[in-house]
Assembly symmetry: C2
């Protein structure tokens, strides 16, 4: 009994600093998880559900933070009701105050999108007015329509605000970055602050689409993905000891031409991705499947050819409109669920299985030593300071499979290595674009963003570059102020 | 007397293999220098003049090799006459046979341009027909109009033919690559063969334009350039202990707007180069001054704005036409000089001073230990196997100042380092384009060249890429055969 009590009420607090590991045993009731941007109901409830289902974390305090008080109230009501339904001991607080939410937190999860999709739509429209189809943030190898890296000054500001608040109040807390752009964001935070930042994305789940289509049981597959966030490749693919790509090849031969997408996001086995596979020798996974070069993305018609009718993938005009409608429906539903005390939450969020998000398993592994394999965004630095991906410097954040437990994050050895063609023709150009975006932001030098646009195939003249930057500054105060325009 | 005889008739033959140094003393009369593509009269006579002026090399045998027998005969006649006029003991042979010229050579200098400018003009015209202004070989950071890296299959074939012939017949000979593209060429040769290849270019002489304009005596300047061939930057610039860039800044303030080019090649201090200096913080030197991004190169009008009226630099339609006319005049003059036994060669090629080309001083340093500072293209590997430019792998060929003597080529420590912005926004993208071009050639995979074009701002569609590749294959047999089109 006494032992049982100990197990449930005490936990280890792990403090990993640059080169040392400290383990303290503290009361489990102390565990505080802060969710920034918690007004995103679906995401928050997935995390809350996972927490309820994770026995060793079920007494934690969850701090829901959002500046939209209506949405925050709705999520708070839903979360408490859902936890009660599941018989969980989770406790909640809600706040619009970032500092208050971070105060005392062990883990800070950021899912906020500053300005929301509406702001991004505005930036996109200005870009299109100046001849930049899908906006200036849509870039080669970064076509995902809410992965903004150039006009998203407010988002970068907020990333650093959270990081600096963590540094000040809870320097040993983990910063779990779940909001985009995860690649630019984790690199920015890691260079501009000393916090322990880890990037989260579920994009690697795209491997399951492949296993399903090939009728493979995941437990029979030995797989690795490697690259950058939204730019990962299936570098290892063994099925029951055989080369998994042979099965993919024969599927392509038999079935590829009959392929049809079920929704705009169903592009993992689209003709564009098969074309990339043929060229690069490996298949891009998850969001990487959406991130080809302009060849697949010149316009909506070209997108339809490569990502399937009728949408042309999620990042065409029609595909993105489809997604925005779905988001609006989901927001309306959240409001309805929050209003209606008798709404069947258990039907909406089935209690049995984990959501598939990695955040709570990560926390459980760190806190309770429940070891787990995840795919995370971490510095390119192996256990002995060696490079995990040899082609990039150690400070660059890469996305790779890792083993997490209370001793920390242990990256797997990437074997086989990422093919040279992927390194030279895909990852290095993408890495450079990250460097340019971060350097522009950190130096506040607008000439870097202009030079970025001079390298953009949609740019035809100096006037076009000056014009689009001027109009963006006019309707984006954070951008205007940051670059002193 | 005996000693004097020894000194003039004997020399050391230096054989540097990967990790060992062998020195044999051999008869100086054995020294053989092969000039491939010797039909280029001006270049050949500059080398011959330098040899005549270099006492310790004046008994060498010069093998003039060219497949154009008329031009070869003319150069042979001129060279022997010129050497006689200078009272030199140089001996000459002429041949159209590559093997014969390389047989027994200690130094092989390649200056041949396979197909000549006419072939390049044909490729350029096909590109322009398909919407590629200045042809598909004109690329960001590589706008020099005879620096072909994509359609120049014949040139690459010839580079490797020479390299493999050297490997077979005279494996210890130095291969001095003087013909373009030196960056792609030296990297290709160094990866596909075991010969000792060194790249030569006089582009760094652009520093002298700057010293002249700033009224600086070169001996008072402490300078370094670093980068890749045609992509070098003035990374160190100290004048009498002060920061040389301060003088440049005040020249720009006072004089920049009155600047006018004297000819299309006079672009070292053009507005485009000053703009690059403002952005990158250092000034690009020599041919690098011609190699900006598309911002400076969209079309002839844009080029005029940045490189000056009336030509818009050497790489506009008008500037290049000017250069072709000059080349034609020079060819006509060579023929005239060769025909007319009484032509005053000494007036045309004044005997007093060295040509400024680096080849003969290099040979003299290696053979006779007459140490000299040069700017050469060598592997990025320092004396202790350390990286000379830390941002690039050791196998990449870089252009840096070196000290050469009979113990070999000793690169200077690059200090200060190349600024990060130049590495990330200029050199790394240029490096990648070299890798893509070489990988396309070595793998014979046309899809790499197509992907290259998909990343080209002038490409608007898949059809355009397919069309230009098809038409190039139709009129370029070496290209067609190499890529099995």
């Amino acid at each position: 009994m006494d032992n049982e009590l100990k197990r449930s009420n005490r936990r280890q607090r792990i403090n990993i600093e640059r080169d040392k590991l400290k383990i303290e045993v503290v009361d489990m009731r102390d565990l505080k998880i802060s969710i920034i941007g918690a007004g995103s109901a679906i995401f928050s409830l997935r995390l809350v559900g996972d927490l309820c289902r994770t026995k060793d974390l079920s007494n934690s305090l969850v701090s829901l933070m959002d500046i939209d008080s209506e949405r925050l109230d709705a999520v708070y009501a839903l979360a408490t009701r859902y936890a009660r339904l599941l018989g969980s001991g989770l406790r909640f607080e809600k706040t619009a105050d970032l500092r208050k939410s971070i105060e005392g937190a062990d883990f800070v999860i950021n899912t906020a999108l500053v300005g929301g999709h509406a702001e991004q739509a505005k930036m996109r429209a200005i870009g299109e007015k100046h001849g930049y189809y899908r906006g200036i943030d849509a870039q080669e190898f970064n076509m995902v329509s809410d992965y903004f890296t150039l006009t998203n000054t407010g988002q970068f500001n907020y990333f650093l605000k959270i990081a600096h608040t963590i540094e000040e109040l809870v320097p040993n807390a983990y910063f779990l970055l779940a909001s985009n752009p995860v690649f630019e964001g984790t690199n920015l935070i890691s260079r501009a602050s000393g916090v322990k930042v880890v990037g989260f994305c579920h994009g690697h789940e795209g491997v399951k689409d492949i296993f399903k289509v090939l009728d493979m049981n995941e437990k029979d597959v030995d797989w690795q993905v490697a690259g950058f966030n939204h730019n990962i490749w299936l570098t290892r693919f063994r099925y029951r000891g055989a080369d998994g790509y042979k099965f993919l090849d024969s599927w392509i031969e038999r079935e590829s031409e009959n392929w049809k997408p079920e929704d705009p996001f169903d592009v993992q086995l689209s003709p564009g991705v098969i074309d990339m596979y043929r060229f690069y020798g490996k298949i891009p996974i998850g969001d990487a499947a959406r991130n080809g070069s302009w060849k697949y993305n010149y316009n909506d018609e070209v997108k339809k050819k490569w990502y399937g009718e009728p949408w042309g993938g999620a990042d065409s005009s029609e595909g993105w409109a489809w997604y925005q409608k779905r988001l609006a429906r989901s927001t309306a539903k959240t409001e309805e669920m929050a209003r209606d005390e008798n709404y069947d939450l258990l039907k909406e969020f089935p209690p049995e299985k984990m959501s598939g998000e990695q955040h709570i398993p990560f926390i459980d592994a760190i806190v309770n030593n429940n070891g787990v394999r995840l795919v995370l965004n971490i510095r390119n630095s192996g256990p002995e300071g060696d490079l995990i991906i040899p082609s990039f410097p150690k400070e660059v954040i890469i996305e790779v499979p890792v083993w997490v437990d209370s001793s920390g994050i242990k990256p797997e050895k990437i074997d086989p290595a990422i093919p040279k063609r992927i390194v030279n023709m895909y990852l290095t150009p993408r890495w450079m674009r990250m460097e340019w975006a971060i350097e522009a932001y950190l130096s506040r030098d607008i000439s870097i963003l202009k030079e970025f646009l001079y390298r953009d195939p949609r740019t035809k003249s100096e006037e076009q570059v000056e014009g689009v930057i001027r109009d963006i500054a006019l309707s984006n105060p954070a951008f205007k102020e940051h670059y002193s325009l």
